[in-house]
């Protein structure tokens, strides 16, 4: 997806992880960073659904392109409706099980997402008119805000 060297992406991600961990400790999330695979796992308890939810962020190419965020079966890479929170009002959680935000690579048409109007993932920092999150901590915080408005898991 990106020609950005892994070492550059790793350095960019790890530069932000201290703040992300601090955020997680304030908000009841657990974060695990896979240094080798550039994969972030973040999990919390989704009270309305009475279950653990986990989101992964694949950070190859970061920050030339945004992470690829998706909800997964906790502890695995399995995706599916049963692991995706249902949207609340004005949510970035979409019925097609995509976190629909410019800071998610998977929201772009180039990656099979619905958005061909954001000028592609490389322009993610210039997109306006929707949620703005330019660091890993801010992305997790936005996921958290929308998760708190989610009434249940996807039916």
């Amino acid at each position: 997806m990106s020609a950005l060297p892994s070492a550059v992406a790793r350095a960019s991600a790890e530069d932000e992880l201290g703040a992300a961990w601090a955020w997680a400790s304030r908000h009841g999330w657990a974060i695990h960073w896979d240094h080798g695979d550039l994969l972030l796992r973040a999990a919390t308890y989704h009270a309305p659904a009475s279950r653990l939810v986990e989101v992964t962020g694949q950070l190859d190419g970061y920050r030339a392109i945004p992470p690829a965020w998706q909800f997964v079966r906790p502890g695995t890479d399995e995706t599916g409706k049963e692991w995706f929170p249902a949207p609340g009002p004005g949510s970035v959680f979409h019925g097609n099980i995509v976190i629909c935000a410019p800071w998610n690579r998977l929201a772009y048409a180039e990656q099979g997402g619905p958005h061909n109007d954001w000028s592609g993932p490389a322009a993610w920092l210039q997109v306006s008119g929707t949620t703005v999150a330019h660091t890993i901590g801010d992305m997790l915080a936005t996921i958290d805000v929308h998760l708190r408005q989610s009434p249940e898991m996807m039916p």
Binding site: G18, G129, H134
Partner: protein
């Protein structure tokens, strides 16, 4: 609190920077119609302290905080420790923000 103290980001050395426990500080804050809040941001491990008028809107106060943390764009608001995102159109008083309350800076924009 001194009634002439400016609002916005406060730094060490400001008379409101450190908490003065007790009823006196609370009464002074109420009389002055200004509060000090401790704001955390997801991009920064360390919080910052701000003094705001209680008749200032949540949106305006959050924008001041966002600017201080180096955010550009977006729709900043505050999230309480209980997880509630405050209505940007309410004043801090109407939103129930208390003196010395800890708030998280969040983006309140909606999905598309």
């Amino acid at each position: 609190m001194d009634s002439d103290l400016p609002t916005g980001l406060i730094e060490p050395g400001d008379p409101d920077y450190d908490e003065v426990p007790g009823e006196t500080a609370e009464k002074a804050a109420a009389a002055r119609r200004a509060i000090v809040v401790i704001v955390f941001a997801p991009k920064d491990p360390e919080p910052k302290r701000f003094r705001f008028r209680t008749d200032e809107t949540v949106g305006a106060a959050a924008k001041t905080a966002a600017d201080a943390f180096g955010y550009t764009g977006g729709t900043p608001s505050f999230q309480t420790e209980a997880g509630t995102v405050l209505d940007r159109n309410l004043t801090l008083a109407a939103a129930g923000v208390r003196n010395r309350e800890k708030l998280e800076l969040v983006d309140a924009g909606g999905g598309v």
